[in-house]
C-alpha cells in the first residue's frame, strides 16, 4: 500500500469517528443488519473515492450521510422513490392527550418509565421520510440546515416532517403508556 499523506490519515480517522452514527442511519434505512453493513461499507468506499471533494473543516457527518442516502435511494429504492407519501396523521400529541385524560399535563418523569426499546420500536414504525429526519436531528444532532442539505429538501420541509414525526411518536408512546399502565389515561373511553 502506498504511503498515506497526513491529510489522508486525518480523513480516515475522522471518517471512522462517524461510523456508529452511519451504521445507525443505515439500519434505519435498510432495517437489516447485513444490508446495513454493506451500505456502510459502500458509503466509505465512495467517500474515499471522492475524498478530494470533501472540504476539511465542514460537517463530515453530514457529507457522509448525504453519500449514504444517495447510495441507498439509488440502489434499493429507485422504483418507489417518488411513491413515498406522507400520510396525514392528524393533530395529536401525547402531551395533550395525557392532559385531557389526567386533568393535567404529564410530568416529565413519565418518560423515565418508557423502555428504550419501545422508543426504538415507535420510531421504526414511522414512515421512512419521518424516520430519517428524527434520526438526523434528534439522534445525530444535525441542525435543520444540515438535515435539509442531506435530505435535499427545504428547511421548512425538515421542520414540518419533524413536527409530524414527533406527533406520531407521541401517539404511539401514549398507546404504549396506557397499555402498560404507566399512565391511567383512556380508561373512561373503553368498554
Amino acid at each position: 500500500m502506498a504511503e498515506q499523506t497526513v491529510e489522508e490519515q486525518d480523513f480516515g480517522t475522522e471518517a471512522i469517528g462517524n461510523l456508529d452514527a452511519l451504521y445507525r442511519g443505515a439500519l434505519r434505512l435498510t432495517r437489516d443488519p447485513d444490508k446495513a453493513q454493506d451500505l456502510v461499507q459502500d458509503t466509505y468506499a465512495r467517500a474515499l473515492r471522492y475524498q478530494h471533494s470533501y472540504q476539511a473543516g465542514t460537517n463530515m457527518k453530514a457529507w457522509l450521510f448525504a453519500i449514504m442516502r444517495n447510495l441507498y435511494w439509488d440502489r434499493f429504492q429507485k422504483a418507489n422513490r417518488e411513491a413515498v407519501s406522507i400520510d396525514d396523521i392528524g393533530e395529536f400529541a401525547l402531551y395533550d392527550q395525557m392532559r385531557d385524560d389526567l386533568g393535567e399535563g404529564p410530568e416529565t418523569e413519565v418518560l423515565d418509565r418508557i423502555a428504550r426499546g419501545e422508543v426504538v420500536d415507535a420510531i421504526e414504525k414511522l414512515s421512512p421520510l419521518h424516520r430519517e429526519v428524527v434520526l438526523l436531528v434528534d439522534v445525530e444532532g444535525f441542525s435543520y440546515k444540515d438535515a435539509a442539505t442531506v435530505l435535499g429538501v427545504p428547511i421548512g420541509t425538515v421542520m414540518s416532517r419533524l413536527h409530524r414525526a414527533r406527533q406520531q411518536l407521541q401517539k404511539d408512546l401514549f398507546e404504549y403508556a396506557v397499555e402498560s399502565g404507566i399512565v391511567p389515561g383512556g380508561l373512561n373511553k373503553r368498554s
Binding site: D20, T108, M159
Partner: protein, 74 residues
C-alpha cells in the same frame, strides 16, 4: 409578547436550538410566567433526549469497524 400559541409553535425550534437569541429571550419571558408551557417544553425536551439515548446504544459491529479501518488506513 408571545402568548401560549406563539410559544407552542416555536417549541420544536426551541428544543432543537434553532431559534435566534432574541427569540429565545422572548420565549423565556413567556415560559417564566407560564407553568403549562414550561411543563410542555420540559416534556418535549425529555422526549428528544429519550429518543437520543434510545438509539445511541446501537453501535456498529467490531468486525465492520476493523475492515473499514484497514480500508481507510485509519
Amino acid at each position: 409578547m408571545y402568548d401560549c400559541e406563539d410559544c407552542i409553535r416555536r417549541l420544536d425550534q426551541l428544543v432543537d436550538k434553532e431559534l435566534s437569541p432574541p427569540e429565545v429571550e422572548e420565549i423565556h419571558v413567556h415560559l417564566d410566567e407560564c407553568g403549562d408551557c414550561t411543563k410542555r417544553y420540559r416534556f418535549q425536551e425529555g422526549l428528544k433526549r429519550l429518543v437520543k439515548v434510545s438509539y445511541q446504544e446501537q453501535k456498529a459491529p467490531d468486525a465492520l469497524r476493523e475492515r473499514l479501518r484497514q480500508q481507510l488506513g485509519a
